[in-house]
C-alpha cells in the first residue's frame, strides 16, 4: 500500500467536468510533479486535495487511512477535519499585517501546537532553512517575490503537513527568484518530504521528481518516471505539449 493513494477523484463545476477519474499513488519522501496545459485541472486537483474544493467523487487515503470519501460526505459543507496537506500558492498569500515570523507562527499558535517559546524556536528554524534569517522581523511588503514565496513555504511547513503541495510556486517570479525557490524545494526533497508540485518548470520536473503526471482534459493522461515522460512520451497530447 502506497503512502498516499488517490482513487477516482472527480470534480464538476456546473456542467463542466474539470477533473475526472484521477488515480495517483505516491510513496513517502517522493516528489510528484504535475505538468500539463493551463486550465485543464492542475490547480483544481491541488485545491481538491487541500479541501478548498470538495471533490464530487473519489477517495483519498493517507498511510492507509481514509481522509476523504466522496460517497460518505453527504451533508453540505462538511469537510474532513484532519489537515494532512499543506499548500503553497502561486501568489504567496502571506498575511500582510504580520512579519515573516508572525506569519509562520500564527497557525501553530492558534492550533495550540506548543508553548509560545517552542513555536517561536521552531518557526525561526524553518525561516533559517528557507534562508530568510535576516528577514524574520520584516513585513511581506518589504520582501521580493522569491523571499515572499520562501516565507510562504516556511509558513506551510510550520503546520507539519504529511504532504506539501505547491501550486505553480514560481509562475509569478523571474528566473533568478525562481531558482532560489526551487532550491528550497530541492532542499526539502533531501529531507525526505513528500511533495506534489504543479509546475511549468520542465527542467525542474525532469531533474527533481520521482514521478511525473501529465494532466490533460481533467485527467491523468500519462504517468511515469521523468525519463519515461520526457524521453519517451506515448500520447500525442503529451508530445505536443512538450514540443511547445
Amino acid at each position: 500500500m502506497a503512502y498516499l493513494e488517490i482513487e477516482g477523484l472527480g470534480k464538476r463545476f456546473g456542467e463542466t467536468d474539470v477533473l475526472h477519474d484521477v488515480n495517483l499513488s505516491l510513496e513517502q519522501g517522493q516528489i510528484l510533479s504535475v505538468i500539463g496545459p493551463s486550465g485543464e485541472g492542475k490547480t483544481t486537483f491541488l485545491r481538491c486535495l487541500n479541501f478548498l474544493e470538495t471533490p464530487d467523487r473519489g477517495i483519498i487515503r493517507l498511510k492507509g487511512e481514509t481522509l476523504f470519501d466522496a460517497t460518505r460526505v453527504r451533508a453540505r459543507g462538511q469537510k474532513p477535519t484532519k489537515r494532512a496537506f499543506g499548500l503553497v500558492f502561486q501568489a504567496f498569500h502571506l498575511f500582510p499585517q504580520y512579519t515573516v515570523l508572525e506569519n509562520v507562527m500564527l497557525a501553530p499558535t492558534l492550533a495550540k501546537r506548543g508553548t509560545k517559546a517552542e513555536l517561536r524556536e521552531k518557526a525561526l528554524d524553518l525561516i533559517e532553512k528557507v534562508g530568510l534569517r535576516e528577514k524574520a522581523n520584516s513585513y511581506p511588503i518589504t520582501l521580493s517575490g522569491g523571499q515572499q514565496q520562501r516565507a510562504a513555504i516556511a509558513r506551510a511547513l510550520a503546520m507539519e503537513p504529511d504532504v506539501l503541495c505547491f501550486d505553480e510556486p514560481t509562475s509569478a517570479l523571474d528566473p533568478l527568484l525562481t531558482k532560489e525557490v526551487l532550491n528550497v524545494i530541492r532542499l526539502l526533497r533531501t529531507e525526505g518530504r513528500t511533495m506534489i508540485v504543479v509546475t511549468h518548470e520542465m527542467a525542474f520536473a525532469r531533474e527533481a521528481s520521482d514521478q511525473v503526471a501529465f494532466l490533460s482534459g481533467g485527467t491523468v493522461a500519462e504517468l511515469g518516471t521523468p525519463q519515461e515522460i520526457f524521453e519517451a512520451p506515448r500520447t500525442e497530447a503529451l508530445q505536443r505539449f512538450l514540443r511547445q
Binding site: A91, Q97, A107, R155
Partner: protein
C-alpha cells in the same frame, strides 16, 4: 457677554458630543452585525436586511428622528415610551442616530470585507484555521485599514448631523447658538458655533490621519 455665550455654547456642545459618542458606540458594532446580515447565505434574512438599509438610507435622518420620538406614542394611545425631559429625548435621538449610522457603516464594512482577496481566506483555511480565526486574526485588520478613510468621512459627517437633534428639542450646539437671535437679537453666537464644529472635526481628522499612518506598514 462673550463669557455667557461661550458657556451656553459649551453646554450645547456637551449635548452634541454626548449624542456623537452614543451614536459611535452603538453604530460601530451594530453596523458590523448588519453587514453580516446583508452578506448572509440565507436569502430571506439577506433581503430583509438589505430592505432595512434601503429604507434608512433612503429617507431623511430628520424624519427618522421624528418617527422614533413620536411614533411609539402615536401607536400606543399617547403614552410615552421615551419618558419626558432631556434624558428621554436624548435616548430617542441616540436610537435614531444609531440605526441610521449603523446602516451607512454596514455598507462600508461590507465593501471592506468583500475587498479582501480570497487568497487570504484560503491561506488561512489550508493552515487549518477556523472561519472565526480567519476573520479575527487575518481579515479584520486588513478590513480596518481599508475602511478607515470612508469611515472617517462618515464620522466627520456625524459631527455636523448632530444638529438635526434640535427637531425634537434637544438643546445641542446649533440650537444654543440660534437661541441668541430670539433672545438678544444677536447673530454672532450662531456663527461662533462654526468654530466649535471646525475645531472638533479638525481634531478627529488629525486622529484619523494618525491612525492611517500607523497602519501604513502593510498594504
Amino acid at each position: 457677554m462673550l463669557r455667557e455665550v461661550l458657556l451656553s455654547l459649551l453646554g450645547g456642545f456637551g449635548q452634541s458630543l454626548q449624542l456623537f459618542c452614543y451614536t459611535l458606540l452603538g453604530a460601530l458594532p451594530l453596523g458590523l452585525v448588519i453587514a453580516f446580515g446583508s452578506m448572509n447565505r440565507w436569502r430571506p434574512l439577506r433581503e430583509a436586511v438589505r430592505g432595512l438599509v434601503w429604507v434608512i438610507r433612503g429617507t431623511p435622518l430628520m424624519l427618522q428622528l421624528i418617527v422614533v420620538y413620536y411614533g411609539p406614542g402615536l401607536l400606543n394611545n399617547g403614552s410615552h415610551l421615551w419618558g419626558g425631559g432631556t434624558a428621554g429625548r436624548m435616548s430617542a435621538a441616540a436610537v435614531a442616530f444609531i440605526i441610521n449610522y449603523a446602516c451607512y457603516f454596514s455598507e462600508i464594512y461590507r465593501g471592506g470585507i468583500e475587498s479582501i482577496p480570497r487568497g487570504q481566506r484560503e491561506a488561512g483555511q489550508v493552515l487549518g484555521m477556523t472561519r472565526r480565526q480567519i476573520f479575527f486574526r487575518v481579515q479584520l485588520r486588513q478590513v480596518y485599514k481599508r475602511i478607515l478613510p470612508p469611515m472617517g468621512n462618515e464620522i466627520i459627517t456625524l459631527v455636523k448631523d448632530t444638529c438635526l437633534a434640535r427637531i425634537i428639542a434637544i438643546y445641542e450646539l446649533t440650537y444654543a447658538g440660534q437661541a441668541y437671535i430670539k433672545s438678544h437679537g444677536l447673530i454672532w453666537p450662531l456663527l461662533l458655533t462654526g468654530v466649535f464644529y471646525l475645531l472638533f472635526s479638525g481634531f478627529l481628522s488629525w486622529l484619523l490621519r494618525r491612525e492611517e499612518k500607523r497602519l501604513s506598514y502593510f498594504e
